[in-house]
């Protein structure tokens, strides 16, 4: 019987210093074999009905594991209604609610969904398991990772989740600044001040800070995109009208690679995003109270503060992460 080797998750110093431990389920500990298998599955088209798409099709490592389109098309050319979410630092989503609307609890469960979704990979788990079972190498890899060569959706999603937990981004310019390894320009520093200033950007309440290097609260907010909702978001999941129009705060790491923005990809540029919070807020019954001066459209940042805020946001771009060979096919 092969015994898998425990995987040593390399946690960035800032994460170790500032955050509680990542979520690793006791029934799916990280192993070298499990992570390697998960990575192979993540990039393998065998998971889709016609073997034309893999997870990486919509979650491209070069785009911080999202894609560059407003909506992604599945194997049949059908488009979804939500922007593909970036994938990194997922093990620090402490409440374990994934997807824009929080409908998936736990990474393993989340990984079950795209394979059988008819507008995504449009396959079935029975079909996928059969193909993997007949594959020349996969049965051995599953046996090494999980002690069983009997392949099913549970083991497949466990492996994918293991790989996803290793996808860590923690070495942007701002991380290096916090570690004392570099300095910010005056514009970047002012942009950070705008971000942290309750009277200007007040971004930190939802998007983390130098003390929360995730740069998200992983919570759900209505950030004033619409007065009337064509997509209820969290409200459709909970059934609570008070949750209508609420979506997960995405991390603001790696924005240089993740356009377009918002759950529906409506903003193509960072300028559009900043303008939204500055002048474009739309009132509604569920808009978050943290959205200020809604009747004036927002906090009306000066052109300089907007430009500097963008400069700061781009300091959270992690090029090492984008180029990390551990995350390439």
């Amino acid at each position: 019987m092969y015994t898998p080797i425990p995987y040593n998750l390399e946690i960035p110093t800032l994460f170790a210093d500032k955050l509680i431990a990542p979520v690793i389920p006791t029934n799916n500990p990280l192993t070298q074999e499990g992570v390697a298998l998960g990575k192979r599955l993540f990039f393998d088209n065998i998971l889709s009905g016609d073997e034309s798409q893999s997870c990486a099709t919509c979650h491209n490592p070069k785009n911080a594991f999202t894609d560059d389109t407003k909506f992604s098309d599945g194997i049949d050319g059908n488009f979804g209604t939500r922007n593909s979410m970036p994938l990194f630092n997922l093990a620090w989503n402490f409440d374990e609610r994934f997807a824009w609307d929080g409908k998936e609890f736990g990474l393993e469960k989340q990984a079950l969904e795209p394979v059988k979704n008819p507008i995504e990979m449009h396959s079935s788990w029975v079909n996928v398991a059969e193909k993997l079972q007949k594959h020349a190498e996969y049965p051995t890899l599953f046996s090494q990772a999980f002690g069983s060569s009997k392949i099913d959706s549970i083991l497949i999603t466990k492996a994918i989740a293991q790989f996803e937990r290793t996808i860590i981004s923690g070495n942007s310019k701002f991380d290096q600044f916090i570690r004392g390894e570099t300095t910010l320009t005056l514009e970047e520093q002012n942009g950070f001040d705008v971000f942290m200033d309750e009277a200007r950007g007040d971004c930190f309440h939802c998007h983390g800070s130098n003390n929360n290097p995730l740069w998200t609260d992983n919570a759900f907010h209505n950030n004033g995109l619409d007065t009337n909702f064509s997509d209820l978001g969290l409200g459709a999941v909970t059934g609570d009208p008070a949750d209508n129009g609420k979506f997960k705060s995405p991390s603001i790491r790696n924005l240089a690679f993740t356009a377009p923005f918002m759950h529906d990809g409506r903003f193509v540029t960072l300028e559009e995003v900043i303008n939204h919070y500055s002048e474009g807020l739309q009132p509604s019954s569920t808009i978050d109270p943290l959205m200020k001066k809604v009747n004036q459209g927002g906090v009306n940042l000066s052109p300089k503060d907007k430009a500097d805020l963008k400069a700061f946001l781009l300091t959270l771009s992690d090029f090492d992460f984008i180029d990390n060979s551990d995350f390439q096919e």
């Binding site: 210093d17 500032k18 955050l19 509680i20 620090w92 402490f94 001040d193 942290m196 200033d197 309750e198 009277a199 007040d202 930190f204 309440h205 939802c206 983390g208 800070s209 130098n210 003390n211 929360n212 995730l214 609260d217 609570d240 008070a242 009132p283 019954s285 569920t286 808009i287 978050d288 109270p289 943290l290 959205m291 200020k292 809604v294 009747n295």
Partner: protein, 257 residues
Amino acid sequence: MKKIFWLLFIIFSFSTCEKNEIDCCVNLDTLNVTLKFTHNWDGVPVTASDFNDFKFRTANGESISIEKLRYVLSKIKLVNGNEEFTFSNYNLINIGEEKGLSLNLPEKIFPGSYQLKFTFGFSDSDNKDGVYQDLNSVSFNVPGMLGGGYHYMQFDGKYKDTNNQDAGFNYHAIRAVDRSDPNNLVFEDTSFDVDLGTVSFISSSKIIIKVNIAEWFKNPNKWDLNELNTVLMPNFEAQKLMSANGKNVFSLGDITQ
């Protein structure tokens, strides 16, 4: 001879008791203590199910809904003379997520009378920037430009403004900071100690701590949300008003033994 016998008997009795006082002299079984925090609006219970609804009215007359309410208490302890028994160095209570509403004393104590005390927020000596991982992980920090450390409370919701329109409020309590001179920030520790009085225990007990949310808007400073609603963190005077009002928020409830 008889006197000597009784003298020896008494000495023997006391010396034995010193060795095994708990077992022989007094029935001093140790006991457990649990704190439970309940919230109300002037006596009407408030739970997460009451959020997101304009069902409360402030002393100043504004109708409000509560959307988020979380606050930290620190140095939560029982005091008996020189002895202190700490429930927790700090505890974040999140009503919406129903977290932190109950605390167990990690050690057993002897029956007797104890003072129940805690601090609302963090005193300056404990309000250290970025050191509490669990609070960082839920983004409870205060920006460095305001001195860093942590929020004492985040209380967000909406009120009906003078035009009966919905408007947001962010009643966020932190250490007060005067930024009149950005190069010379002046801080005032606006955390405050709460002494809920003496509690007598004869057996394991559950203590209710009642939290009247309405008091944040009432006493001694009647709060006008049309004037003070958002961007209160850098408002030195507003922080002092919050601190004053908070001193009437907490009270001792029922004790079940």
